[in-house]
Symmetry: C2
Subunit: 392 residues, 2 copies
C-alpha cells in the first residue's frame, strides 16, 4: 500500500506543482515571433474586435476552462482558504486535460464573498470558454452558480453539486438494472442536504424516484419546519419528492432507515452503522460518499448485508467518481458551444455512463465504469452535443 501522504508531498515538491503553460505554435525564429506576436498578432485582434465570435477561431478561449475556488470547502479539509486549495485546483486542471483534452487553469480567489466572487468571475471570463466552480461551501455555491449561469454566456458548472449527482444516478440506474427493480418503487434515505444532496435529489426526481426521506445534521427534513430552513432545503422540499415519517421530531437516522431500500450519503464519516443497515429492506443499496471516510466502511456494509455498495474511494469497488462526468460534460459543452449545462443533459450523461457497462458485464462490484475507460468521455460528450444540436 502506497503512503499517499508522503508520496504525494514528494511528487508535488519534485515538480513544484503540477501544471505548466506551453505553446501550441512553433517559436524558433524571428518569423515565428512575427506571426505569434507583433506585428502579425494584430490581425486576429482586429478580427475579434469586429466580431467577438472570432475569439473561438483565433484564441484558446474555446478549449479553456477556469477552475474557480475560494477554498471554503476543500475535500474533507473544510475552509482552508484560496492558496491552500491550489494543489486541488491544479489537480483538477490535470484531470480536464488528461481525460478530455480540455485546457483548464486554476483561479483561486482571495475572497469568500459570493457577490465579489461573481463579479470577479464575470470580469475574467473573456479568457475562458467555460467555468468550473469547485470546493465552494454551500449554500453560497448554489447562489454563485445560478447567478453566473444567468449572467454569463459560457457554460458554468459546479462540479461538487452535479458531478457527484450524475455519477450517483448512473450507479443507481445500474443497481436497478442488475437487480431488476423498478426505480419508482425504491424508498431512499438521503443523508446530507447540502449542495451535492440538493443536486442528487433533483436527479432522483428526474429518474422517477417517488420516496426520498432527507436527513441532515438537524434531523429529518420536514415540511413543518420549512420557514426555518435555508433556501437549499426549502427548494428540496419544493421538489415534491420528499416524504417524511409521522413524527419527524423523534425520528433519528436509526428509525428513519428501517425498511428503506437505498441509502445515499453525502454527509459525514461513520453515521451509518451495521445495525442500521440490517434493518433496511433486503439487499439494500448503500452509497456512502462522504470523503475521504464514508458514512459506513465498505467492509461493514458488506458484513451487514448490503447488496450494492458504492463509495467515493478508489480503493474499493464502485467508486462514485466525478471524473466520470465533468471531463465529458465540458468536452461536449465546449465542442457544441453550449450556453448552459441543463438538467436534461445531466440525466443523459448519467444514462450514458451507466450503459457503458453491458447487461452481461454488470455485477455487484461493477456498476460504474473505470475512470480510465476511454468510452466514458466519448459517450458523455456526445450526449451533450446531441442536446445542443436538438437531436434530443
Amino acid at each position: 500500500m502506497i503512503d499517499y501522504k508522503k508520496e504525494s508531498l514528494k511528487l508535488h515538491l519534485k515538480s513544484k506543482g503540477k501544471i505548466e503553460v506551453v505553446s501550441k505554435v512553433p517559436l524558433n525564429n524571428k518569423d515565428d515571433l512575427s506571426l505569434a506576436y507583433t506585428p502579425g498578432v494584430a490581425e486576429p485582434c482586429v478580427h475579434i474586435a469586429k466580431d467577438s465570435e472570432d475569439a473561438y477561431k483565433y484564441t484558446s478561449k474555446g478549449n479553456m476552462v477556469a477552475v474557480v475556488s475560494d477554498g471554503s470547502a476543500v475535500l474533507g479539509l473544510g475552509n482552508i482558504g484560496a492558496l491552500a486549495s491550489l494543489p486541488v485546483m491544479e489537480g483538477k486542471a490535470l484531470l480536464f486535460k488528461e481525460f478530455a483534452n480540455v485546457d483548464a487553469f486554476p483561479i483561486v480567489l482571495d475572497t469568500q464573498n459570493p457577490d465579489e466572487i461573481i463579479e470577479i468571475v464575470k470580469a475574467i471570463s473573456p479568457t475562458f470558454g467555460g467555468i468550473n466552480l469547485e470546493d465552494i461551501e454551500a449554500p453560497k455555491c448554489v447562489y454563485i452558480e445560478r447567478r453566473l449561469k444567468e449572467e454569463l454566456n459560457i457554460p458554468v458548472f459546479h462540479d461538487d453539486q452535479h458531478g457527484t449527482a450524475i455519477v450517483l444516478a448512473a450507479a443507481l440506474i445500474n443497481a436497478t438494472r442488475l437487480t431488476k427493480r423498478r426505480i419508482e418503487d425504491l424508498e431512499v434515505v438521503l443523508a446530507g442536504t447540502g449542495a451535492a444532496g440538493n443536486s442528487i435529489a433533483r436527479m432522483l426526481k428526474k429518474l422517477g424516484v417517488k420516496h426520498v426521506f432527507a436527513f441532515n445534521k438537524s434531523g429529518v427534513l420536514s415540511h413543518d419546519k420549512y420557514n426555518e430552513y435555508n433556501f437549499l432545503d426549502q427548494e428540496l422540499l419544493d421538489l415534491n419528492i420528499i416524504s417524511e415519517p409521522s413524527n419527524t421530531e423523534k425520528t433519528s437516522l436509526e428509525k428513519l432507515i428501517v425498511k428503506k431500500d437505498v441509502f445515499i450519503g453525502v454527509s459525514a464519516k461513520g453515521i451509518l452503522s451495521k445495525e442500521m443497515v440490517r434493518t433496511m429492506h433486503k439487499d439494500p443499496f448503500i452509497f456512502a460518499m462522504a470523503n475521504p471516510d464514508p458514512e459506513i466502511t465498505y467492509e461493514d456494509a458488506v458484513d451487514a448485508g448490503a447488496f450494492i455498495i458504492g463509495t467515493g474511494r478508489s480503493d474499493y469497488p464502485n467508486q462514485i467518481n466525478n471524473v466520470l462526468a465533468f471531463p465529458g460534460i465540458f468536452r461536449g459543452a465546449l465542442d457544441s458551444r453550449a450556453k448552459n449545462i441543463t438538467e436534461e443533459m445531466k440525466l443523459s450523461a448519467a444514462k450514458a455512463i451507466a450503459h457503458i457497462i453491458t447487461d452481461d458485464e454488470l455485477s455487484r462490484d461493477y456498476i460504474i465504469p473505470s475512470a480510465f475507460n476511454k468510452e466514458v468521455v466519448k459517450r458523455v460528450s456526445r450526449e451533450i452535443i446531441n442536446h445542443v444540436k436538438g437531436v434530443k
Copy 2:
C-alpha cells in the same frame, strides 16, 4: 517578404489559439491519480494551510505569471477591449515560456475601471508568483501598477512602461560606448510623455542624463503649466531633469530639436522629418519607437544623417524589443522571490543587456543584442537575483 496578416491569421486559426495547459506529473493509472489528486493531494494542501510559504514548494505559483490586460491600449490598435486583446496576451505568455521558461497565463478583464482592476488582480493573485500588466492605457496603468506594488507581496511589472525603458537605456549606453560620448553631455528630446515616456525619463535620470526636453501632443512640457498637467507629466517635471526652451508656447518640435543630440520617440507615426534630423547636432542618435510605424522611417533617418537608429521593428537593425527585458526580469524575480522590481534592478538589467555586446562587436547597426541570444535572460536574471541577495 511574408504576408504577416494573412499568415498570422492562418496560424491562429489552425491551432485555435496559442497556449495549452499541460501536466508536469505522470497520470497513467489509479496510483498516479491518487497522488496528483485525491486522496494524496490533501497533504500539500494541509502544509500550505499551515504555512503559506509552502505554496512555493508544492504548487506552480512560484513559476506562474499572470499577463493582465483590460484591452484599453493594445499595440497600435487602441482600445479594442479585453476579448480582442487575447491573442496578444497569449503571445506574451509564449514569449515568457520560450525565453525564460516562465509559465504565464493571459487574464483579460471585462472592466476598464482602475479600482476594479486592482481589486480583481488582488483577488486572483494566490495562483500567481508575479503580475505582468500589459496594454493598459496611461495614466491609469501607472496608478494600477503602483497600488498593486504596494498591496501585493509578489512582483508587479507593467511591461509597456519599463520594458521599453530598460531596452532603450541599453541602446543609449551602447550608442555612447561606440561613439565615446559622455551620457551626461547629451541633450535629449523625448517625444511622448505617457507611461513609457515617464519610465524612460526615470531611466535617463538614473543614467546621468542632464538635459531632457519633453514634447507631447500639447507641445513642449513646461514648468509654467504644471497645474494643467495630469499626474504623470507633473511627476516628469518633479524629476528635475526637464529643461525647456525660453519660449515654450511658440516652440514646435521643429524648433525644439535644433542642435540636440538624441531623439527618443514613444509617440506617433511620422512626426519627425528628415529636415528636422538635419538640424540636430552631428551624428545624432534617433530612437523612433512608435509602433508599428516609427516617428521617422529607418531609411529617412539614414538619409538625414542619423548615426545610430533604433526602432521597435524587427525588420531593421537595433530593435528596441521588450523581449530583451521582461523574460529575464521575471526569471530573476521569481527565482529570488523578489517582492518588487526596483529602479536599481531595471538599471542593472539595462547595463547587463548593453554589455552582452563587447567593444569589438559594437557597431552602428549592432548596439542591441538579438532576442534569441541566450545570454540575455541569463545575465538579466542574474542581476535581479544579485540585487535581492544584496550583492548589489
